[in-house]
């Protein structure tokens, strides 16, 4: 598999009233053609900022990027706004967490889809409209013709997310970035949308960068996983290794706090103590130390680098080697 997107040492910082904060701090990962790469982490870990950095959607007046983002051999960070506009929605498409507000309330579904098609293909309005109907049909939405004439508020969350997917596919993207596309949906709809994404990925042979905080979803659709904590990659490996042999205490904490299918829903799940610190007081040494059950005094003394455990497994923890030998915290999660 060839690397479609290769992010190397990406750093994204914002100028705020209280100084500069670095929301994404030296993140590297890659996505190959036909591959689904997951980014997981708690709220505020910088997952969305990573996604938005790839398309450079953040407010240009207060955001600074550094590093490299090689897409099909070219570094996107060297592109100007015009060149980026030709990439966005054309070769890289994105779908968002909140399908309720991802469509403009004043236009019909048909108007918005047709507009998206017209923006990418040099065809007439009529054929654009019928292309839009075909796209809707492909997402499995019932009665696509009628949906075309409806306004966003007349559709359910799942239907709107299908419309967003249709819109993202209007240009046959090579890479699809999905930022928590199923978080706002119920479990059944979530499963349908995930299946749809996989089918479409196989059909278009696109790569998918899938952002989520749900390890259950990761297990279901991802080939490889990047675990993020406070702007850094803390562990990165293929999905089997991650669930069989998680090396980082944070990954283990996430797994322990994910409910299993069939487990007693009323049983207390262990949670990771504390919460993600703010970007204004990033701890020195290991950023996870304050919440880590395995923390040692030396964890706080120096910055912890990513350690290569095996060719496709890295972890940012000085005790990785010890931990990896032990069986996972919860056997139920192993697949």
């Amino acid at each position: 598999m060839t690397k479609l997107l290769d992010v190397i040492d990406l750093r994204t910082s914002f100028d705020t009233e209280h100084g500069t904060v670095t929301a994404v701090d030296g993140v590297s990962f890659s996505v190959a053609q036909g591959e689904v790469v997951g980014i997981v982490g708690e709220s505020g870990c910088g997952k969305s900022v990573t996604a938005e950095s790839i398309l450079q959607l953040l407010d240009p007046s207060s955001t600074r990027y550094s590093g490299q983002m090689n897409f099909d051999g070219e570094d996107l960070l060297t592109f100007g706004e015009e060149a980026m506009r030709r990439i966005r929605g054309n070769r890289i498409a994105m779908i968002f967490q909140d399908p309720m507000s991802a469509l403009n309330p004043v236009f019909t579904i048909g108007d918005q889809l047709t507009e998206a098609v017209l923006a990418h293909r040099k065809i007439g309005k009529r054929s654009a409209r019928s292309a839009a109907v075909d796209l809707l049909d492909k997402t499995g939405i019932p009665e696509p013709e009628r949906r075309m004439r409806q306004y966003p508020h007349q559709l359910s969350g799942g239907q709107r997310q299908r419309v967003m997917i249709a819109m993202a596919l209007s240009c046959d993207p090579e890479l699809l970035i999905a930022d928590e596309p199923t978080t706002a949906l119920d479990v059944t709809t979530q499963a349908q949308i995930l299946r749809l994404l996989i089918e479409l990925k196989d059909e278009f042979n696109a790569g998918i960068l899938f952002i989520t905080h749900d390890l259950g979803v990761v297990a279901e659709i991802c080939d490889r996983v990047v675990v993020m904590y406070l702007g850094e990659v803390v562990e990165s490996t293929d999905v089997h290794t991650l669930f069989d042999n998680p090396a980082h205490p944070y990954t283990r904490g996430l797994m322990a706090s994910t409910p299993d299918v069939g487990s007693d829903p009323s049983a207390d799940l262990p949670i990771i103590p504390g919460s993600v610190p703010t970007l204004h007081n990033v701890p020195s040494g290991c950023r996870f130390a304050d919440r880590c059950p395995f923390a040692l005094p030396e964890c706080r003394e120096r910055t912890v680098e990513l350690e290569v455990l095996s060719p496709d497994h890295t972890s940012r923890c000085i005790r990785s080697q010890e931990l990896i030998g032990n069986s996972p915290v919860k056997d139920g999660m192993a697949r």
Partner: protein, 295 residues
Amino acid sequence: MTDTMTVGSLNRLNKTYSRRSMFLRRFGAHKLAMTGGIVLAIVVAVAILGPVFAGDPLTLNPSQRLAPPSLDHPFGTDNYGRDTFARAVAGARVSLLVGAVTALITSVLGAIVGLFAAYNRIADTILMRISDGLMAFPAILLAIAIMAAMGQQTSNVIIALSIVFTPYVARIVRSAALVAKEQTYVEALRSQGASLFRILWINIFPNVLSPLIVQATFVFADSIITEAALSFLGAGVPPPAPSWGNMLLDGKTLIYSAWWMTVFPGAFIMSTILAVNLLGDGLRDLLDPTFNRRK
């Protein structure tokens, strides 16, 4: 909501298909807005049809000076013997024209400035500081200063009023656009490679249209008042052309001997402003999507 059609979703569907007729029905049910609309329509009709039934507002008739209301002169005559009714009707034309053109110009300029400011931080800082500066002056003083600089002409009245009121419209548009801009669909559009033009004018503009329309009606009313005040102070529509403001000015010194010279133009101003404000308040209620739920 489910994929299967229910009676409820069918009803909802029909309703949105006829959004416009639904708006008209709700407008009809809103008594204050209806009253305002009808009164304004009458004033507009009088202004347009004036030349057909009212006499010439400029004809001097020295033998008929300061005649009280009679069948010949229903509103009496002024100190030059000119027919007050004809002058009030011609004044309506001037006032409504000034109000409507100012509302139109400020809407266009305000929309451009407001949308641009909402989208560009540097433009925002510059444009909003300028508008702060303009808004710091009382409207009437600023208008007088501009008139003094440009000369007394009806078209200059419109320019002066547009300069005075554009910042108010731009502020409203800017704040509505700032809200619309934070919606995910704007980011979604950007992620699809939409141009700034397409985002601002095709997608955000329709979302700021309601507050813009409401603000435009208030500018309409305010510029009629300000024009009247300017003319009353002798800095507005130049005589002998009639306007409600300079009719009041003419009548001021004679208010005890010829009350009709002030009462009739005054009544015109009052009823027009009241009508426009009622209409504006009504539109604000009707265009506010949360209003129905509140009732």
